[in-house]
């Protein structure tokens, strides 16, 4: 294996950012203090759907200590949307509010008390409008329209049709249709959202905020504020988690910039925990109807899926969010005939985005139904999955070639390690074991911002600095870049510095939201470092009188292969290069090989991503039939991450994925509602796992050495997060002999299911099926 030759890559070395984080030195956005800084607060809509008739902010403006007040009238009304065709959100509402929490006005004042008092002095006259709070009422004929021109409130409609589903169903020995429902979940990253904006006399503005792509944020702010992109400088800052919830552009940063430009002072906005839940993003609620047909061996011959996603008030990443649950599924399972209709429906609820386990009802539905089919045919869950699992060298239904794939190995290893087959056959009352499998993309076609570039410079002492646009949300991207550069340059990690995620200084990068940071950003840094190393070896070859091909950079020395004792220290080479007027400056770039013609709605075919990760998770649980409480005892999770650049970091991603995807995502996490109001926006009421809840986790790293990834690496951890939800669902079902179709599996639902316990192979609840929506002429766009 090639990794035996690596000195730094593939080793579990501590992250370079950990020291600043254990001493409290790391600065997050809310920690920033600037001279003359003001505090901002936002006035939000108390109504789920209303017309704004009039806003009187004169009293607030007159309050002592208030420096700026802005409403929709102070904006140019520019609408934000991730795509040109989804621009539907005014970053400060002008004419209507569409959910409880929509941004109506904002103030900047000397302190928080003054800002809150100023908000109370703003008078808004609303005309309340009828509202819709779920998919079914949203699409019912005659429902109030949340956005003009979107009939039946259909925000996005995705249609994928491959092969001939109807004909294939006729050849099946068994066909079944089931409907699965999942409620909204939330990110609850530990850092509440915050923004600091600092405007300058030259018309520029600096912005700090948690983000998953500084360059995307800068472009959106430039558009909305109508100032040149070169005058919006998004700065690097420590970020307290993202999980998909920092990917989009929010009114918060636009408003903070606007206030700062108005007041000509720095302004800080820190969200409360409630605001973080309501006014950034949350997960979609979903209804998924799955019809699957198989042959005698359990091989899936045809599948037809209709999915409704409750999208909330605005588009956000709508076309991506509508497609991804299907795409993950088509990567995981082989099918020649498959059809998908996905509809994202506008409702008068907070805006939904992609979340770490986006598509609970979809993924858990697929795997629950597969177990039901297996039960009917007398085939165990592991065999059912092995017979349908994706293999390397294949092409997905929508046309993505899968270069590397360790899914079969993941299934076999997790099943073997957990003793799945025996435990599944044992049938001990209230004890269950379940398996889930999934696959995640490593990047999407993202146009001009789809790749990554990097520079490397050397210092006189032989140390080096990387310049890269990659952002670290907490997963360890900063360390990943440093570890790669250290390997390539033959330097210890301590001698590599990093400048990243600062739009003024760092080159474009794809952002972290499509799981591409390692693949694109890592490759770009690897190439920049290889370029710098080649220059270094060139100089060294003259000094050593040897061919550059025969030289190695390692342990801060360059030497002829096999003769490490007679090497030249790197600092000496760097200085020699400076003397010769050939300073060492490496540069590298990487653009993933994807089909840029692929489009989420208009053309969902072609290479989606250059690489895909695959995972299989097995959960073992015990259910208390009196309380409905589930105790997870052990979770065995295997993922093909291509190559583990740092096994300790990769394991950490797996373990976090089990907590958020399985333990929290399947056993307790959901929002509850009353007419558009979130009843549990805080950490007190929204039930996330704590340390006492967690099972023993057995992480199994599977390596397939992807031909395109840096050292063969792909995405690490997301396939575990997704498959953990499926594994937990199936394990609880197995413990009770019940097939669940309403997620998450809260104690209330489990008790209800035990009471209802349907006989035979049926899901617990009879939900109405999601059906194809026939629309008057045009596709919603």
């Amino acid at each position: 294996m090639p990794e035996e030759n690596y000195s730094i890559i593939g080793k579990s070395i501590p992250r370079v950012d950990s020291r600043a984080k254990v001493t409290g030195e790391a600065i997050f956005t809310a920690d920033i203090v600037l001279p003359k800084m003001l505090t901002a607060k936002i006035l939000r809509s108390p109504h789920p759907h209303a017309r704004i008739l009039h806003i009187d902010a004169s009293k607030a403006r007159a309050l002592r200590g208030v420096y700026a007040v802005v409403t929709g009238r102070d904006t140019v009304g520019e609408k934000w949307g991730v795509f040109r065709y989804t621009r539907d959100q005014q970053l400060l509402c002008v004419d209507k509010v569409r959910y409880v929490g929509d941004e109506v006005a904002a103030v900047a004042a000397v302190d928080e008390e003054t800002a809150i008092e100023a908000l109370s002095l703003i008078n808004v006259d609303y005309e309340e409008l009828p509202a819709v709070f779920d998919c079914w009422s949203g699409i019912s004929p005659g429902a109030p329209l949340i956005h003009d021109g979107y009939e039946r409130n259909i925000n996005v409609a995705v249609k994928i049709d491959v092969g001939n589903v109807e004909e294939a169903f006729k050849k099946c020995v068994l066909v079944r249709e089931d409907t699965f429902v999942a409620e909204e979940d939330s990110y609850f990253m530990t850092e509440p959202y915050a923004v600091v904006a600092n405007s300058h006399a030259d018309g520029s503005v600096e912005v700090w905020m948690p983000n998953a792509s500084p360059h995307t944020k800068a472009k959106a702010l430039s558009n909305a504020l109508r100032i040149p992109l070169s005058k919006v400088n998004v700065r690097k800052i420590t970020i307290g988690g993202a999980f998909g919830g920092r990917s989009d552009v929010f009114p918060a940063e636009f408003i903070t910039c606007l206030l700062s430009l108005r007041a000509q002072r720095p302004v800080k906005l820190v969200y409360t925990r409630e605001e973080n839940s309501i006014a950034t993003r949350m997960g979609h609620a979903m209804i998924t109807t799955i019809k699957t047909g198989v042959d005698r061996d359990g091989k899936v011959l045809a599948r037809d899926i209709v999915c409704y996603l409750d999208g909330g008030a605005y588009s956000s990443t709508g076309p991506i969010a509508t497609s991804v649950p299907f795409l993950c599924h088509e990567q995981t399972y082989r099918m020649e005939n498959v059809r998908f209709h996905g509809y994202r429906i506008y409702t008068n609820k907070p805006v939904r985005g992609m979340i770490r386990i986006h598509g609970r009802s979809f993924a858990c539905g697929i795997d629950t139904q597969l177990d039901m089919i297996g039960a009917e045919l007398g085939i165990d869950p592991v065999t059912m999955r092995l017979r349908n699992a994706r293999c390397p060298g294949e092409t997905t239904p929508t046309g993505s070639f899968v270069a590397s794939c360790g899914l079969v190995e993941c299934i076999e290893k997790s099943a073997e390690k957990s003793g799945f087959t025996d435990k599944f056959a044992q049938r001990i009352p209230y004890r269950g074991i379940g398996i889930g499998i999934n696959s995640v993309q490593t990047g999407f076609p993202l146009g001009i911002r789809g790749g990554s570039q990097a520079f490397i410079k050397f210092h006189e002492d032989g140390g080096a600095t990387i310049v890269s646009g990659v952002v670290d949300n907490g997963q360890g991207n900063d360390h990943m870049l440093v570890q790669i550069a250290a390997e390539e340059l033959g330097l210890p990690v301590e001698e590599i510095r990093l400048i990243s995620a600062d739009t003024e200084v760092t080159p474009t990068d794809a952002g972290s939201y499509s799981m591409i940071s390692t693949f694109a950003g890592g490759n770009a840094v690897k190439r920049a470092a290889a370029d710098a190393r080649a220059q270094l070896l060139e100089i060294a070859s003259e000094m050593l009188e040897a061919d550059p091909e025969d030289l190695v950079a390692r342990d801060k020395k360059v030497f002829v292969k096999g003769a490490p004792d007679r090497g030249i220290p790197i600092p000496k080479i760097v200085r020699q290069a400076l003397l010769q007027g050939k300073p060492i400056m490496g540069r590298g770039s990487f653009s993933p090989d994807v089909d840029q013609r692929r489009e989420w709605i208009s053309n969902p075919r072609g290479q989606l991503s250059q690489a895909f990760s695959f995972g299989a998770t097995v959960a073992e649980v015990v259910v208390d039939p009196e309380t409905g409480i589930v105790r997870a005892e052990q979770v065995t999770c295997a993922q093909d991450c291509g190559f583990a650049l740092n096994p300790m970091v990769v394991e950490g991603q797996f373990e976090g994925g089990v907590a958020m995807g399985g333990q929290g995502g399947m056993l307790g996490e959901e929002h509850r509602w009353h007419r558009g109001h979130v009843l549990n926006p805080t950490m007190l009421e929204y039930k996330m796992p704590i340390m006492k809840d967690m099972p023993r986790i057995v992480p199994l790293i599977v390596e397939t050495i992807d031909p395109g990834g840096p050292y063969g690496a792909k995405e690490a951890g997301m396939s575990v997060a997704m498959s953990a939800a499926q594994a937990y669902a199936n394990a609880v079902g197995h413990a009770l002999g019940i097939y669940f179709n309403h997620f998450p599996l809260t104690p209330e639902r489990i008790l209800e299911a035990i009471e209802k316990k349907p006989s035979g192979l049926r899901t617990v609840w009879d939900f109405p099926a999601a059906r194809i929506i026939e629309k008057p002429d045009k596709e919603a766009k």
Binding site: T23, M683, I690
Partner: protein, 164 residues
Amino acid sequence: MKKYLLNIKVNGREEDLAVTANSTLLEVLREDLGLTGVKEGCSEGVCGACTVLVDGRPVRSCLTLALDVQGQSITTVEGLSNEGSLDPIQEAFATKGAVQCGFCTSGMIIASKALLEQNPCPTEEDIKYALAGHFCRCTGYAKILDAVKAASEAYTPKKGPEGT
């Protein structure tokens, strides 16, 4: 608003401060003393990120009024390392992969410090109990548990301030 004199010892230093009656300890530490290692995650005493030691006991600084700790000794995460050398708990968190985004880290370390000062050889259950009031969304807690176990092995409880 009227201000009151507050004398507290923070990370070993005497501090004289003028604070309003409604100031929380969290606000005083972060805003008046610049100790931003103390994090505000929920403002209602649930997430644990703002935990500091008050006379050795772990306390939610977001729910503690500053004037209530008059005369007491406060330790924040900034007070654990000494001239660049880390406390064994900090060292273990950094080297065992217990830190990802880092937002919960200060509170986790402080709660672990309180535990190990009192009970240098905790069982796994003791650790889980001591850290039950702390949310981490990144790690799944596994490596945090490992770190506290590792720290407990390296840990010798310090002698009291009297040097006894």
